[in-house]
């Protein structure tokens, strides 16, 4: 897998195409695995798309007592294996980003797996392939780094110089704004 997922939350227009696309995916049982939510509904109508980060050391897999959450060779964190998942929901509480969903009816957890059957062939996942405002994109790593660099530059141009201890405030992890 040479490409990366790139999210720009401000670009989200709240159309929920990504969720519709996710539902369409075979094997998803017409249930979406991503989220589109309001940042702060009482202040503005800004929405954001939310997918799984595919952590290198996933907390969800670490808190699973049945060892049901597996990681592919490409590093994609999969949904809990249906045969092992005992339905305790530990993963939904352990995940720092609140990603895994739980189906009480069928007693199993399901989560975004970055459409690994598509992305391993460098095809964009369902959500990224339909996003009309490029809030979710599936791009080359180099392109992502370029977008990040440009954001840093724009911050500097505006005279917002980060000091030693708060660089992260100016360059959030893979996150860019001016990406025309």
């Amino acid at each position: 897998m040479k490409k990366v997922m790139y999210l720009e939350f401000e670009r989200c227009i709240g159309c929920r195409s990504c969720q519709a696309a996710c539902r369409e995916c075979g094997g998803h049982d017409s249930k979406e695995r991503n989220y589109v939510e309001y940042v702060n509904f009482f202040e503005n109508r800004q929405t954001y798309p939310m997918l799984c980060m595919q952590c290198k050391d996933p907390a969800c897999a670490r808190v699973c007592p049945a060892n049901a959450i597996q990681i592919t060779d490409d590093g994609v964190v999969l949904s809990a294996m249906e045969e092992k998942c005992i339905g305790c929901r530990n993963c939904t509480f352990g995940c720092p980003f609140g990603i895994p969903k739980f189906d009480f009816e069928e007693n199993k957890m399901y989560k975004c797996d970055m459409c690994y059957d598509r992305t391993k062939h460098d095809i964009a996942p369902m959500c990224a392939s339909v996003c009309p405002s490029d809030a979710i994109r599936f791009i080359d790593h180099d392109e992502m780094m370029e977008l990040r660099r440009r954001r840093t530059q724009m911050n500097l141009i505006e005279g917002k110089k980060p000091s030693e201890n708060d660089k992260w405030q100016y360059v959030p992890e893979f996150f860019g704004v001016y990406s025309d």
Binding site: E8, F9, E10, R11, G26, G27, Y35, E37, V39, N40, F42, E43, N44, Q46, M50, A59, R62, V63, C64, P65, A66, N67, M81, E82, E83, K84, I86, G87, C88, R89, N90, T92, F93, G94, C95, P96, G98, I99, P100, F104, E105, E106, N107, K108, D117, R151, Q153, M154, N155, I157, E158, K160, Q169, Y170, P172, E173, F175, V177, Y178, S179
Partner: protein, 380 residues
């Protein structure tokens, strides 16, 4: 225990040793000090030992995982608490009946899948019971007189029966019944894997298909044995017997290391109603951010203990853990911190500042062209 453990290479080797010793001891009792071991089954005996060792090794390393260990610890603690006895009993009984005997949750994933899984599961468990019973000599039959057989369990003579009665028929045809269940279930499963394109994308040959092929080979050769001696007058029986033995040995050796290993893990599902959710979908702990009910205190305590043991630091700026917030709030926390909107989440009274002066959202808000021109000039 510590001293004993030190004399072994690892925990799993210690437990394997204990399991092997126990099996030998049970064999010693059941076969009358090894006087009537069935040497026709020697291959099966060796494979059964490998099966038990493999199971012990896998289960030991599984139980040593911090998450599993924590849940087992909590379950044992609850089992000892006198106040919770009623809840424990109910939880165990409910899991046993609903999840293990009837497997209701799989039927909810589809009736076809439910039937298929139930047939394979109970076919397997039944076959195991008979296979291990016979190979280790835990049970064998004795001829009392010309028309009476007696079942001998662990060397103790028990029920007497007529060799052509219903009970005897069920006993003698037991493996044929379970094999037929398995055959139907495996064919259903294979048909599903051939027909369903969604499954074909994600299935793995060595993980999802190999056990089915092994099961198919084992049941077909096993049923062929019956066909051979019932209908064909023992035609090719020794060769078929060897073939069946080879496939069964392969299956037994594969079992602890493949997909079918989920069998010994399933009973832990009892821990969910016992420790965490007495009634499914009913929560008691409220989220720090939005106040909505999302979990219960015991489970969050366990999750935090597991995360702590594995050095995950999910403390927020207000001194709480991320797992004290519900999933929706956690998603919000992530977005806010990426949008430079980080504030002590949950206890801020003023509305969260979206315009923090660091960077304005670009989407739908273009700056004047001068701004960009000047920026490019400066860059040059």
């Amino acid at each position: 225990m510590k001293g004993l453990e030190r004399s072994f290479y690892s925990k799993s080797s210690m437990y394997s040793f204990i399991v092997v010793l126990t099996l030998f001891f049970s064999m010693w009792i059941a076969t009358g000090r090894f006087t009537h071991v069935d040497y026709m089954l020697f291959g099966y005996i060796v494979a059964s030992f490998i099966f038990f060792i493999g199971m012990t090794v896998r289960l030991t390393s599984w139980a040593m995982r911090p998450a599993t260990h924590e849940v087992i610890r909590r379950s044992l603690q609850n089992m000892k608490t006198r106040k919770r006895q009623k809840r424990n009993g109910k939880a165990i009984l409910k899991t046993l009946v609903d999840n293990i005997i009837l497997q209701k949750y799989i039927f909810k994933r589809g009736i076809y899948r439910g039937i298929q899984h139930w047939l394979i599961a109970w076919g397997c468990i039944g076959s195991f019971a008979i296979t291990f019973g016979l190979t280790f000599g835990w049970m064998h039959f004795k001829l009392v007189d010309a028309t009476t057989y007696q079942l001998v369990l662990m060397g103790v003579p028990t029920i007497k029966m007529h060799p052509e009665g219903l009970f005897a028929l069920l006993m003698f045809e037991g493996l044929n019944i379970t094999a037929s269940m398995l055959l139907i279930g495996v064919i259903m499963a294979l048909a599903r894997r051939i027909k369903n394109h969604d499954l074909q994308v994600t299935q793995r040959a060595e993980f999802d298909l190999l056990p089915l092929y092994l099961l198919l080979a084992m049941t077909v050769t096993g049923l062929m044995l019956t066909v051979s001696y019932k209908l064909l007058g023992g035609w090719m029986h020794p060769q078929l017997q060897l073939l069946h033995q080879v496939t069964t040995v392969l299956f037994l050796v594969y079992f602890p290391f493949g997909k079918l290993f989920h069998l010994p893990i399933r009973p832990m599902a009892a821990a969910v109603p016992m420790n965490y959710q007495e009634k499914q979908g009913v929560d008691s702990k409220s989220c720090l951010g939005c106040g909505e009910l999302y979990s219960n205190d015991d489970q969050i305590a366990d999750v935090q203990a597991i995360l702590g043991k594995q050095a995950f630091d999910f403390q927020t700026s207000d001194g709480h853990q991320l797992s004290d917030y519900c999933t929706a709030c956690r998603r919000k926390i992530r977005v806010m911190s990426q949008l430079n909107m980080k504030s002590p989440f949950g206890n801020s009274i003023a509305p969260i500042q979206t315009n923090n002066g660091i960077h304005l959202p670009g989407f739908g808000r273009k700056r004047s062209d001068e701004f960009y021109e000047q920026a490019l000039k400066e860059e040059k």
